[in-house]
């Protein structure tokens, strides 16, 4: 491990479980509720955040010593916003189909508190390489929860995974639906995402008592 020291590895692995941005730091909840009704959207959002967090954390870390502290939040916001807009424009010009899929997420990324949260908590006080690792680590942790929530909501709400029907056809009453099973439309509503995130937090904390606060 010449490239990654033990501490560096921890930067990536910690956010996956014991310091997960959603379940432990409670960052990025809004988008976790909004777009996890299907797995595909969860995946796209996860990848988009991975990119923005990785690059954004490095940029903020590079200019951390010259940012006036009074306006640092505004500076962070501008860095995220311009980064996202530039990527969006480039995609519109050269990969139009992809940009159509992603355009919905642009606003969600700019206002995603996970990004600002990591800029503020980590990138402002650490060097670019470590900030980069922290960025992708947290983005992975975020994506893992999004995918888990998306999996249950899409399976129980629509009976599909990545848009592919896995439980049969609800209208023709084939597969599982032949037994009288119905899709739970409530799973498609944002409150169910909150309940699933709550269940994940419950399981996580009951397995690792150290996470429980007094």
């Amino acid at each position: 491990m010449g490239l990654l020291s033990k501490k560096d590895v921890k930067l990536i692995t910690d956010p996956l479980a014991d310091n997960n941005p959603i379940t432990i730091q409670v960052l990025g909840i809004c988008s976790a509720l909004a777009i996890t009704a299907e797995l595909k959207a969860s995946l796209v959002m996860g990848i988009a955040v991975l990119f923005v967090m990785g690059v954004g954390n490095v940029v903020i870390s590079l200019i951390r010593n010259i940012i006036p502290s009074k306006i640092r939040i505004i500076v962070q916001l501008i860095v995220v916003a311009s980064l996202v807009i530039i990527v969006d424009q480039v995609l519109k010009a050269f990969a139009y189909e992809l940009s159509k899929t992603l355009s919905v997420f642009v606003g969600l990324i700019i206002t995603n508190c996970i990004i600002m949260g990591r800029f503020e908590a980590f990138a402002l006080g650490n060097g670019p390489w470590r900030a980069f690792l922290d960025g992708i680590g947290n983005a992975f942790g975020y994506a893992v929860i999004l995918l888990a929530v998306g999996f249950f909501r899409e399976l129980l709400g629509s009976g599909t995974l990545f848009g592919v029907p896995v439980l049969g056809d609800p209208i023709e009453k084939t597969g599982l639906y032949a037994t009288g099973y119905e899709n739970n439309g409530f799973m498609l509503m944002p409150p169910m995402a909150l309940i699933i995130v709550g269940l994940i937090i419950w399981v996580q904390r009951s397995r690792n008592k150290a996470l429980i606060e007094d």
Partner: protein, 252 residues
């Protein structure tokens, strides 16, 4: 760092410098990519219009447009006329119709002006398709679409799109199973009054077999987007009623 990054002077200078750098960077990106983006948008519009009249490469459940390499040729092959409709129902042929921006025209109408109404006539396998662009509001942002009608204002095909509806919920107006529900639905009552099509919850017709109920089945969790679709169909398509009445008279 010995520099005092807390002073007011430094803060203001930093802010100004940042605005200049970021602003010019964004302006440069936007203006240098503009021709490519405009070209992509033109092709998309042509693909959407062709899609509504059934010229596409769809599989059983997916949505596949005519390829970007041949969309311009296919467009001139299938679209025989581009019209601008006057409020009294008369029409004039104009190549400008394609460039009409429905959003701007709606704003014009709101401020008391007259709205230019574009209409594209497509011919395929001996049938005429009257394709109309519509635009409205979803939950978060704009939604729009292209609806292909026949002479009796019965829907022959529909394509919807959106700027920022929630993925998995409102964004599903872009799915085949929603758009295809509109095919065969009528806009006019038997006496010729404009009724529109409502995206309705609980219309007890999930397979959408009943074609004269002026309703299609709604999407779960997307009430406001669905209402937006109903509204834009009602308001925008109604404006074309005089044209279709004239057309009917001419055909009879």
């Amino acid at each position: 760092m010995s520099r005092n990054t807390d002073s007011n002077q430094y803060t203001i200078l930093f802010a100004i410098g940042m605005v200049v750098i970021v602003g010019s960077l964004l302006a440069f990106t936007a203006s240098s990519l503009k021709p490519n983006i405009a070209e992509n948008e033109r092709m998309e519009k042509q693909q959407n219009i062709l899609y509504a009249m059934g010229v596409n490469e769809n599989g059983p459940t997916d949505i596949v447009f005519v390829g970007t390499d041949k969309v311009a040729a296919e467009f001139s092959k299938y679209i025989s006329k581009q019209l601008i409709i006057n409020p009294d129902g008369t029409a004039e042929e104009s190549a400008r119709a394609f460039k009409i921006n429905v959003k701007k025209e709606q704003a014009k109408a709101k401020n008391g002006g007259t709205r230019a109404l574009p209409l594209f006539i497509g011919e395929r396998e001996g049938q005429s398709y009257y394709i109309i662009p519509i635009r409205g509001k979803g939950l978060w942002d704009a939604i729009w679409g292209y609806v292909a009608l026949d002479e009796d204002m019965v829907v022959q095909g529909a394509f919807f799109d959106h700027a920022a509806e929630t993925p998995g919920l409102g964004a599903n107006i872009k799915q085949r199973y929603f758009m295809d529900d509109f095919i065969g639905e009528k806009l006019l009552s038997s006496t010729g009054d404009f009724k529109g099509i409502t995206v309705a919850k609980g219309n007890n017709d999930p397979k959408n077999l009943i074609k004269d109920d002026y309703e299609v089945d709604a999407l779960a969790g997307a009430t406001i987007t669905g209402d937006g679709v109903s509204a834009m169909i009602k308001t925008d398509l109604k404006l074309y009623l005089p044209y279709f009445k004239n057309l009917k008279n001419q055909l009879n």
